[in-house]
Point group: C2
Chain length 330, copies 2
């Protein structure tokens, strides 16, 4: 049995971690839930019991084996040294440590082995990055991926628990004629799409867009991988979709690509255009597989494959991936 | 003055044509509105008068100078010979004639001159195709475009007047707890995105996706242009958005690209990431310019430029473009 803590337990990802730990029968000994002082005293259900949320402090982590992090970067940075010092393994969903050389960045289906080189912290990658690379990992095994062009269709829940609440409120205002207020998103999201997630960097790409390349390089051990990415928020509750074109060193056989994706761990080949079957957010929510479809040859480059993938970014893109990392250690 | 007919006057595009003719002070002499027998007898407003809709028949077109077509392919094919025989110019928004060698395919900002080679029929291109090529035309003038990768975010009104009605009904059902019915779209569109527009072709691309390349080649006079396109329906009422990566023969200066787009007819450069300005459907609806932003260098290919464009596909993508074609002839 492992003593488990969840840091940021009351957020969208924290709550899902709790759910996934129970679902996957993770051998939880002691379970402690941490959040800000504001949320302390609340209770969250776990395996039929109500667990009280505690305020996270620097001394919270004694006796824990694993702490799953579901906070923003500042809090992850603040508590990480104390978690490590207490002897717990910190599996962190923030982006604070992802590109640190001594922090493994893990998608268990892709690079589980790298996890064992940790020095107390293992990082969980960005949600769109996890979904996209689970989808293309089988292709990389057939021939090394050199570059990708990706355009995302990201759900509102990627912005935290407040995202779907804002979507629902705007939807109600739209139907009932009320005022449409935007607080979580920089613009209205109902009836709109917003080509900005994260903040803009010097090269004109957003922080979110650069994660696809920079985290992808590390996860895939492809240091020269180049990814041109456009991240777009769409009025969907849950599950990110990504339109990807993948370029490989050699020209691949399309049937071989489909077979490889069908056989890949964490993937479900969902690609039958004759029957109108292709991945969609409504199909992939509240489960852990990345659905891959619309697989076809790139038209401009014979070494390119175009595809469309969808996955639940709160589960496989965050909570499930973190619990899968924890499972590597028992 | 020109005597004008609108074939398919009661649909979303037909009604918008009527509005655009009035707005642009098109010199309309006689105006006749044609639709199916079912819609005959209805009245539509034009410049303060109510015009009665007539049933379209093979003998409807005598005395007309221009017929604007806003029907599906079968009706366009059925009536085209009779329109031409009656001596009227048929400006057709269907895809029936777009790739015919003796039918010009026109976006006035790009290839107005080609219109004058017509033999009675001029075709209006696909909506996403118009918006995308208005956005990238300035780039092609700086250096020939060789290839593109495009992912679209297409509004429900692209499926005709029934699209936004279905979106609104599903939204109401979602808010009020009713049953969500899908008739216009193959799956629910509220809270979802659907990676299928049109029907699937042998190469795995949809008919809609192949239009971007095949119509683009003709409009741009780029017979070797290659376009890998993914067309996706999103829960937006109006205005299509497109994430595009454009590859050119030479490496371009980014500032020069922005200046060229700013100076391009039909375009509005809307690209200030410091101020959070980028095109969105809510900004571009019910007007005629294509907004272009998020302009940045492709990461994988130094001859590539990534950008994001939005435009009202019922106006510039259909009705306005057709009326602009008509304006070339008076």
């Amino acid at each position: 049995m492992k003593n488990v803590g969840i840091l940021g337990a009351t957020g969208a990802v924290g709550r899902e971690m709790l759910k996934v730990l129970a679902e996957r029968n993770f051998p939880v000994g002691k379970l402690r839930l941490f959040a800000s002082a504001r949320s302390a005293g609340n209770k969250l259900p776990f395996r039929g019991k109500e667990i009280e949320v505690e305020e996270a402090t620097e001394n919270s982590f004694d006796g824990l084996d694993i702490v799953l992090g579901a906070t923003k970067n500042d809090l992850a940075k603040k508590f990480a040294p104390h978690i490590v010092k207490a002897g717990a393994l910190f599996i962190d969903n923030s982006s604070a440590f992802r590109l640190n050389d001594d922090v493994p960045l893990i998608v268990p289906e892709i690079n589980a082995k790298d996890a064992f080189g940790h020095k107390g912290i293992i990082a969980n990658p960005n949600c769109s990055t996890i979904i996209t690379f689970v989808a293309v990992n089988a292709i990389n095994k057939l021939s090394k991926i050199t570059a990708m062009v990706a355009s995302t269709y990201q759900a509102t829940s990627g912005a935290g628990a407040g995202g779907p609440v804002e979507l629902a409120e705007q939807m109600r205002a739209q139907v009932e004629g009320g005022e449409i207020k935007s607080e979580v998103f920089p613009h209205r999201i109902i009836g709109n799409v917003i080509p900005q997630i994260g903040s803009f960097t010097e090269n004109g790409y957003t922080t979110e867009e650069m994660k696809m390349q920079n985290e992808g390089r590390k996860i895939m051990r492809l240091p020269d991988l180049k990814v041109t990415c456009t991240c777009v928020r769409v009025p969907v509750v849950r599950s990110h979709s990504i339109s990807v074109t993948v370029y490989t060193e050699e020209k691949l056989d399309l049937a071989a690509v489909k077979n490889a994706i069908a056989a890949e761990k964490g993937c479900r080949l969902y690609d039958d255009t004759e029957k109108g079957l292709y991945p969609m957010p409504i199909l992939t929510s509240d489960q852990d597989l990345v659905f891959v479809g619309r697989i076809r040859r790139d038209i401009a480059n014979e070494n390119g494959i175009a595809l469309w993938c969808c996955g639940d970014q709160i589960r496989k893109g965050a909570a499930t991936n973190a619990v899968q990392i924890a499972e590597l250690f028992f």
